[in-house]
């Protein structure tokens, strides 16, 4: 299946601070009562963005100056907890096309890659510096250069890399593996047989 090659993502960035931000926080379970992912965007980070009466709380994603940001800056162990793909789906539909963090939980990382959302890992100091820069100037253009393991903004740049397999998948347009997986039908059938599972 021919997919877009995702070699770099550019846009404005916003920092959602905090370690161990779990997928329950990214999309609370009650919004998972759905049979399609459409419309999940408006519920991203709902409980930290909204009061119980639906009015806005103070949160970076509510600030008009960060509206339209497409790069999410996070801290460590981002996306831990539940395996729900609703989390990256909600972020994607909210408008995010890349995430930069110190570390990612594995299932979340894999889910993002399969949706074509690069997740790159950078140091705490570099994330802090970028966060300071976008807080000072939210219109700053930030580039996540997946192919070259780099994030650039203004006249600065820092190293930000992804697991080799994820990087390879994104830049070659193989981030959704279904096409390739389907090709091995016969190999799978003989392996299933060898393992004792009748077809």
């Amino acid at each position: 299946m021919a997919l877009a090659k995702i070699t770099s993502v550019s846009g404005r960035a916003v920092h959602v601070p905090g370690a161990d931000i779990d997928t329950d926080r990214i999309i609370p379970a009650r919004f998972m009562k759905c049979v399609t992912f459409d419309g999940l965007g408006e519920f991203a980070f709902y409980d930290v963005r909204k009061n119980e009466d639906g009015s806005d709380k103070q949160h970076p994603l509510n600030e008009p100056r960060f509206k339209g940001a497409s790069i999410l800056l996070a801290d460590s162990n981002f996306g831990c907890g539940s395996s729900r793909e609703h989390a990256p789906q909600a972020l994607y539909r909210f408008g995010f096309r890349a995430v930069i963090a110190q570390s990612f939980a594995e299932i979340f990382f894999g889910n993002c890659t399969t949706l074509g959302i690069p997740c790159v890992i950078a140091s705490e100091a570099d994330i802090k510096a970028l966060s300071d820069a976008v807080n000072a100037d939210p219109t700053l253009e930030v580039t996540v250069d997946v192919a070259n393991d780099q994030v650039r903004y203004g006249d600065k740049s820092f190293k930000a890399s992804s697991a080799t397999t994820a990087k390879e998948a994104l830049i070659t347009g193989h981030w959704d593996p279904i096409g390739e997986l389907l090709e091995a039908k016969d190999d799978v059938a003989s392996k299933m047989k060898a393992l004792g599972w009748a077809a």
Binding site: G18, A19, D20, D22, D24, R25, P28, A29, R30, M32, K33, C34, V35, T36, F37, D47, V48, E52, S76, N77, C80, G81, S82, S83, R84, E85, H86, Q89, S103, A105, E106, I107, G110, N111, T114, L115, A163, T164, T165, A166, E168, A169, T172, H174, D176, P177, I178, E180, L181, L182, A184, K185, D187, V188, K191, M192, L195, W197, A198, A199
Partner: protein, 469 residues
């Protein structure tokens, strides 16, 4: 040099290397539930694909089913829609479906083992992070996202990266009042909520050898809360005895052959691990969480941490954040914290042995009138077996509500929810902010017996004192 169970299973299930370097990995058993599957079936339809191996795909409903009245149609139209979607998908794609009507419905991680579907040396995937539970049988079991659910439905394989294996030894003798739940919470406390990233956890040592299968499931269930992708225990006679005679277990000659083969999957004595952690059983206390991540745990006799104890700014910020959310005073005992709700259930601790153990202690005692206490069997079969033993009566006489099978208050996608900032003593596995349905609701994780002690006391208590253990 010998191999670990993980390596043996990996080698026997790797189909080929994909162009990005990942491994195309064969999944023997695919478990499906109503929340993470409808979109995957939708994608299948869009691509004009079928389920490749419907006979290796098993579905049930657990997350959204109400536990008070399970009569269709459900009061919640969205829940009804999701159930209808699964009914339709199971029928259209020809997969085995343990629906409410079969008497075999339940939490997917309770149903798989109960039916004998979960077997040693096999690979299991499910669109649910607690799939690691099945590792108790020496299976390699992964929680996956919805697009991967699609991949497994369509191809019986998924793209996967290899991982390291960390052996966690617990040796010695657990002290009275210390349960499998405490062991798993203690491990997470020591190694951190992200300590297991990139790893499979192999649990070993005499403590796990001596555990029942249900206890082993409690331990493996929470591997993911420690950041590990999966967790497992080598199969042994306890494993085989549990599986014997289950509906999907082999029978007759095939059984003997299977057991002989299952034995070979266990890690070899001379295998090498990427990392080894040793824990003394005597050091494990009855453990409770105090914060909003499962590694924010302490002994029930300890004080809640204070930001002054923090080693650095990041830690200080996370302690402050957790204390503010949990509304707990820094540096004060956790014992005595008022409890509003008590929940015994979930795929961590909703099995027959959990209810039996609690029943031993609550007989003749009464839940504090200020506490709403619910007991929720993990499956319809657990419910029936518990009733046969009269356990439901013991619970209701003590003041618990005895409910129908489901995930219930573990994640509150059903009507069982906390209200406002209620504090729940819970036998489940996650204490994340808002996890139990109210954006300000508070969760304190602990063993089922500790939940019962909290319910009776009206506040967090040391079960050893309340029940003279």
């Amino acid at each position: 040099m010998g191999k670990t169970l993980f390596a043996k299973v990996w080698d026997s299930h790797a189909v080929r290397t994909l162009s990005n370097g990942q491994t195309q990995f064969l999944i023997d058993t695919h478990l499906v539930h109503e929340v993470t599957s409808p979109q995957a079936f939708g994608m299948l339809r869009d691509l004009g694909l079928k389920v490749a191996y419907p006979n290796r795909t098993f579905a049930t409903v657990d997350h959204i089913v109400p536990t008070d009245s399970q009569v269709a149609p459900f009061a919640d139209p969205l829940a009804e829609e999701m159930i209808q979607a699964l009914n339709k998908n199971a029928q259209e794609f020809g997969i085995t479906y343990f629906s409410l009507a079969t008497g075999k419905q339940g939490i997917v991680h309770v149903v798989g083992p109960e039916q004998g579907i979960t077997q040693p040396g096999t690979t299991i995937a499910c669109g649910d992070s607690h799939t690691a539970t099945h590792g108790a049988f020496g299976a390699i079991a992964f929680g996956i996202g919805t697009t991967q659910v699609r991949d497994v439905l369509a191809t019986q394989t998924m793209a996967l990266n290899p991982m390291k294996v960390r052996r966690i030894n617990v040796n010695g003798k657990l002290r009275p009042g210390v349960y499998a739940k405490d062991v798993t919470l203690h491990i997470i406390r020591l190694l951190g909520a992200n300590g297991g990233i990139g790893h499979a956890y192999e649990y070993g040592g005499n403590v796990f050898d001596e555990m029942t299968m249900e206890e082993r499931m409690t331990v493996c269930n929470m591997a993911i809360e420690g950041g590990a992708r999966c967790g497992y225990i080598n199969p042994d006679d306890t494993t085989f005895a549990y599986l014997k005679g289950r509906p999907y277990s082999p029978t007759g000659e095939a059984w003997d052959k299977a057991v002989a083969q299952w034995r070979t999957f266990a890690s070899d004595a001379d295998c090498v691990y990427d990392d080894v952690v040793n824990i003394k059983a005597e050091d494990i206390p009855p453990t409770v969480t105090w914060g909003v991540s499962p590694d924010q745990a302490i002994a029930v006799t300890e004080n809640v941490p204070s930001p002054d104890d923090a080693k650095n700014d990041v830690q200080r910020a996370s302690i402050n954040e957790a204390l503010a959310y949990m509304k707990l005073p820094a540096g004060k005992p956790i014992k005595g914290t008022k409890v509003d709700v008590a929940f015994i259930g979930s795929c961590t601790n909703g099995r027959l042995s959990d209810f039996r153990e609690v029943a031993k202690f609550i007989k003749g005692k009464k839940v504090n009138p200020s506490v709403k206490a619910i007991a929720v069997p993990g499956s319809q079969i657990v419910d029936v077996l518990a009733r046969q033993e009269g356990l439901d009566k013991v619970f209701t006489e003590a003041g618990f509500e005895w409910r129908g099978a489901g995930c219930s208050m573990c994640l509150a996608m059903n009507p069982d929810k906390l209200i406002g900032d209620q504090l729940c003593a819970s036998s489940s596995n996650r204490n994340f902010k808002g996890r139990q349905g109210s954006p300000t609701g508070r969760t304190v994780l602990m063993s089922p017996v500790m939940v019962a002690a909290a319910a009776i006391n009206g506040s967090i208590a040391d079960a050893r004192e309340v029940f003279s253990i």
